[in-house]
Amino acid sequence: MQKKWLWILLLASPLLAGAQDAQIPPDIQKLSARAKETVEVTMDGPMLRWASKFLSADDPDEERAAKLVANLTGIYVRSFEFDKEGAYTSAEVDELRSQFHSPGWSRVVGVRSAAEGDNVDIFFKLENDKMAGIVIIAAEPKELTFVNIVGPLELDQLADLGGEFGVPKLDRKTLKHAEKAEKGEQK
């Protein structure tokens, strides 16, 4: 009887692995061969729980992170930095986006910047009118980033995510300041 279960587990393991990989589009892995630098983070539920045990309550960033990941079931990141522009095609990015044009997903932000070539898409997964996940696809000239956060996420936590964790908050004032500084350097 035990052997039977062992066989079932062995046969089902590729299916289980496939189910886990579904959080990351399979085609995106192809880009790592062309990338200069690759960031890969794959954290499923148990791993998140375990990692969050090591987050310190004394550190404000880590405290916020602990609250944020408390109800999440997975965080998956693939970020590729390339040597030169055009290392990936727009068709590849479209293919990536098309996987989230399905029921349950809605694109809440889509930015196309002709000047800088930065394209950012943000998709929300809604379940019973509640956010159950977020996918960010950021295609920059020399960088392509895919982020999939699985699990319930509060909007205020999302705001935290956008403005904390060592990332400076960007608003018009800071942008103008940055532009002035840039112009000053050019002079």
Binding site: A51, S52, G110, D118, V147, L158, G162, P168, K169
Partner: protein
């Protein structure tokens, strides 16, 4: 004359005795088997040569100390040694788990930073759109 005959008789006697003593005689039956059996018995009786193990090299000088002659002390020392070993393994596992946890935490913070930076990028682009209408935004 008599002296000569006496000497000759003695020489003949010695000669005869030598001939008798040195004459070829076959070994008694089963002699070879007896010899082999005796050799085998001797080999069995000899204890095998003992090698100096690491235990005898390092522990023998300690265990032969007068304090360790008592079995209670020996057992106590063994128990202390075993406890130290178990504690050492426990500490090692805790440290290893902590190192793995710290690595997982770094991965988590990295993931959140990447996600945060891309949200910031989107946010800044959306803000830009409000000032620059030539860009296309869908929100």
């Amino acid at each position: 004359m008599t002296h000569k005959t006496e000497i000759k008789a003695k020489i003949d006697g010695v000669d005869a005795a030598l001939k008798t003593a040195l004459c070829r005689q076959s070994a008694p039956e089963g002699f070879a088997d007896q010899v082999l059996a005796r050799i085998a018995a001797q080999n069995l009786a000899q204890p095998p040569e003992r090698r100096n193990s690491w235990f005898s090299l390092f522990m023998q000088p300690i265990l032969t100390q007068p304090i360790f002659i008592q079995p209670v002390v020996r057992w106590a020392a063994l128990a202390a040694f075993a406890t130290a070993m178990i504690f050492g393994v426990y500490i090692y596992n805790i440290r290893r788990e902590h190192a793995q946890g710290e690595a997982a935490k770094k991965q988590l913070m990295l993931a959140l930073r990447v996600a945060g930076s891309k949200l910031q990028l989107a946010k800044s682009k959306v803000n830009d759109m409000n000032t620059d209408p030539t860009r296309h935004v869908k929100e």
